[in-house]
């Protein structure tokens, strides 16, 4: 277990470092990098304009920037956001709780809705029983997150539920397929033949064995939810990290973009790793020891 933990930690660290570097490189190579809108300010003198250009030129060497950035990162300094004229760490501290709360509600709400509807669909099994959930999930899957946010905004529903509606169809479709596949296993047929109640079969023989596979959805749900939170927070004017990410992208704010890339990568990987660890622990507890192995 310890070696698995170490492996996961190493994987997370390497991926995050690489993700940050790739993110920084992409921003650096993007059009409009290194220019400042203030250059069009007619009031500024030639000296001030030159000073602005020199300031921006410091970010031109991406390798140097990244090394300096990582140096600061280790000390909790994530750089300075030019677009908001404040330290990135300070901005994240202010905005992260709101986004995490929205993500929490969104992921939990979307996952619960998806799982409950999937369970009901599998339990009911009547022809056309999945018509309404399938239509709803299809609609949510087809509509861009921004449109969902606009609709909810119009009817006065909190933006966090837009995240739930983005997560829901993915969970519902995957969970339904997974549960249907499990429900066709021989042990389920045997349990039904023994006359166990349909709820007991569903819970003990369908849902519980499928749970580890369903847990793997957590990682993808978090990254999905964060991706959706960017347009949702922009549309709904929610002062969270999603809005910050949008603003940073528009302004080519390198330290902010790199930090958000690192943060999202970290969040997704940690949740994925937790799911992997849970799966490993579950396997350890349920799979019987191989024949011939000595008890500890």
């Amino acid at each position: 277990m310890l070696s698995l933990l170490l492996r996961q930690a190493r994987r997370i660290l390497l991926t995050v470092l690489l993700g940050g570097l790739l993110g920084a490189t992409l921003v650096r190579l993007g059009p409009g990098f290194g220019v400042d809108e203030r250059e069009l300010d007619n009031r500024l003198s030639a000296d001030s304009q030159q000073a602005i250009r020199m300031e921006r030129a410091k970010e031109n060497n991406i390798a140097l920037f990244y090394v300096r950035y990582l140096g600061g990162f280790l000390h909790g300094d994530f750089g300075f956001s030019r677009s908001l004229n404040r330290p990135v760490a300070e901005l994240l501290k202010e905005r992260l709780p709101l986004t995490l709360e929205s993500l929490g509600y969104g992921v939990f709400g979307g996952a619960s809705m998806g799982l409950v509807l999937a369970l009901l669909t599998v339990w009911w099994r009547a022809p056309g029983s999945d018509l309404v959930p399938a239509l709803l999930s299809g609609l949510c899957l087809a509509a861009p997150a921004a449109i969902i946010a606009l609709v909810l905004l119009w009817i006065g529903v909190a933006s966090r539920w837009a995240i739930a509606l983005v997560v829901f169809p993915h969970v519902y479709r995957y969970a339904k397929n997974q549960l249907i596949a499990t429900s066709q296993s021989p042990h389920v047929v045997a349990a039904e033949a023994k006359g166990l109640s349909s709820w007991r079969v569903l819970w003990a023989h369908v849902f519980t064995p499928a749970a580890p596979q369903l847990a793997a959805l957590a990682g993808i749900s978090v990254s999905l939810a964060f991706g959706a939170s960017i347009p949702i927070e922009v549309i709904c004017d929610t002062p969270g990290v999603g809005q910050l990410a949008w603003r940073a992208a528009m302004d080519r704010d390198l330290p902010m973009l790199v930090t958000i890339t690192v943060l999202v990568a970290l969040m997704t990987l940690v949740v994925n790793s937790l799911a992997d660890l849970a799966l490993a622990a579950w396997k350890n507890n349920t799979v019987p020891p191989a024949a011939g192995s000595a008890p500890a």
Partner: protein, 555 residues
């Protein structure tokens, strides 16, 4: 009798006080697009910070946005001398900062010293930087007579010197609160990043109304940070906001059909919608295109060919004025009234094109070497007005056989192309003007400037007319005689109309929305259009608050 009168007044005051306590404080609510980048008034660059500075900063001289005349604020009198190198102020006595610190001449000296720090790179400070050398500020007047004054001397003449002080918010030299101690009608109360800025009434604000009541009438201003314009409008309709300071024409018409008494069209603003062609010598353009763009006749023909009336009618829904040049009709003094907007006449445009050697070949226009006239015009993506404007220009130019390709880019990419790589052919953009005085346009007209957009940073003027403009701008900048300056700048406007380095399309109207709850609004075309007289604005129960404030002050 006197006793009874006093008793009545006391009872009324008590009742009002009770009423005020029972009701919530009077608060004006409107939106900022983004968070203010700074609360330091000397470092203000962005619009949101400018708004906060306007509402909190005390200035020596204020430009009345309605009459367009300068008025004394913290300075009771001022005098410009030495050909615009020196200004003397008489300071208002008995004024205190919001934290109670007395306002003295030291504060003005301190503010000017901080503002003119060369490492600050402040746009507010840079307008005073007309020549190299230090700026000297010193206190004058005597403590014995109680009169205090300040003299500020600049190394070179500063055009419209007094008017530039409209942007200089005075800082306290002695207060421990630093920038938080202010002399304006409101002081920073609370800031929740990404959500709102709350400004509270400055209890020590010096101004009183005609009846001697202390100003401002409002208790607070809540600046909600709201990027989404549709949401802003929705909240205004629901009564959650009192003002929408800038509306686009489509929103204006939509709101006007629902709430006709809430919308305000103050007439043409100072802003420009312009087009210019790339005339940069080393731009990555084919030589024949560079020749077109450098041809006065070609630029004039394009300008003549664009039907500005259609732009006003279709794109701006009647809420704009066809531009005649670099000065809007809203700028009463500096406008060269002899100029007329281009006609949009096809015949006039074709005659100019023929004169420049262009001819029709079937349905297309070709130059003297047979090159088909086709060019691209860039603009910022997501700006519906620009996208519609380009669609109309495309149609107008198609009448002459010119193929216009529209390219939309996000703003940083557009800035990169017009200021770094010069990889563009023509551009449509909006310029926001906040200053009436032509000196604010110095960096646009002078050929050596970085913002001389069509051909920036010239070592020597590329054309005789640019050399003439350089000379005229220097002369108007160096003179303190307003009428003489007007003659010089009229000539600049005439050259701009003849040579068309920039095609001035329209001056959009200043459109706003104001809730009927807000009283004493006098819309102006100069920013901030609606709340320029913020100390006189009242919302809902502001009269009760005013009575309460009067009572508190009497105590």
């Amino acid at each position: 009798m006197l006793m009874r009168c006093r008793l009545t007044r006391f009872t009324m005051a008590l009742m009002l006080c009770g009423l005020a306590a029972a009701s919530s404080a009077s608060e004006l609510r409107f939106c900022l697009r983004i968070d203010p980048k700074t609360f330091n008034p000397l470092l203000v660059e962005d619009e949101a910070s400018q708004t906060v500075r306007y509402l909190t900063g005390g200035v020596l001289i204020r430009l009345n946005r309605y009459t367009q005349e300068l008025e004394g604020e913290l300075a009771t009198k001022w005098k410009v001398s030495e050909n615009g190198r020196r200004i003397d102020f008489d300071l208002r006595p008995g004024v205190r900062f919001s934290d109670g610190t007395p306002f003295t001449c030291d504060d003005v000296v301190y503010t000017m010293r901080e503002l003119m720090d060369p490492n600050l790179h402040s746009p507010t400070g840079d307008v005073f930087r007309s020549a190299p050398g230090p700026v000297e500020s010193r206190c004058t007047g005597s403590s014995a007579t109680g009169s205090a004054g300040v003299t500020v001397r600049f190394p070179g003449p500063v055009a419209a010197l007094a008017a530039q002080f409209d942007q200089v918010a005075i800082l306290s030299a002695h207060s421990a609160a630093k920038e938080s101690a202010v002399l304006g009608p409101f002081a920073l109360g609370e800031y929740k990043p990404g959500a709102y800025v709350l400004l509270r009434r400055n209890p020590n604000y010096w101004k009183r109304d005609a009846n001697g009541h202390p100003l401002p009438y409002l208790d607070a201003i809540r600046l909600e940070i709201q990027q989404n314009r549709e949401l802003e409008l929705l909240r205004f309709r629901r009564g959650e906001l009192d003002i929408v300071n800038k509306l686009d024409p489509e929103m204006y018409d939509r709101l006007s059909s629902e709430m006709p008494h809430a919308v305000v069209d103050a007439g043409p603003s100072l802003d420009w919608e312009i087009v210019f062609f790339n005339q940069v010598a080393n731009a990555p353009l084919p030589e024949y295109k560079r020749r077109w763009f450098r041809s006065d006749d070609f630029r004039r023909a394009i300008s003549e060919g664009i039907r500005r009336d259609d732009l006003v009618r279709i794109v701006y829904r009647g809420h704009a004025r066809a531009a005649v040049g670099p000065v809007s009709t809203a700028n009463r003094f500096w406008l060269n009234s002899a100029l007329q907007p281009p006609s949009g006449s096809q015949t006039a445009a074709l005659a100019l094109l023929e004169h420049a050697g262009f001819r029709r070949s079937g349905s297309t226009l070709v130059d003297r070497d047979g090159n088909r006239v086709e060019f691209s015009m860039i603009t910022n993506a997501g700006n519906k007005l620009h996208e519609r404007t380009l669609a109309l220009i495309q149609q107008d130019l198609a009448r002459f056989g010119i193929q216009l390709n529209v390219v939309t880019l996000d703003f940083p990419s557009l800035v990169e192309r017009i200021s770094r790589t010069f990889n563009y052919e023509a551009v449509l953009m909006a310029i926001t003007n906040v200053d009436l005085d032509p000196s604010a346009q110095m960096n646009i007209w002078v050929s050596s400037a970085a913002n001389h957009q069509w051909n920036p940073n010239q070592k020597t003027p590329a054309t005789p007319w640019e050399a003439e403009i350089d000379k005229l701008m220097a002369e108007q900048g160096g003179s303190q005689d307003r009428d003489k300056r007007k003659i010089y700048f009229d000539r600049v406007q005439q050259i701009a109309a003849d040579k068309v380095p920039m095609l001035f399309l329209v001056n959009p109207n200043a459109l706003s929305a104001v809730s009927p709850n807000v009283k004493n609004v006098t819309p102006a075309v100069l920013a901030p259009q609606i709340y320029w007289n913020v100390e006189h604005l009242q919302v809902g129960n502001a009269l009760v608050s005013q009575a309460r404030n009067a009572l508190v002050n009497q105590r």
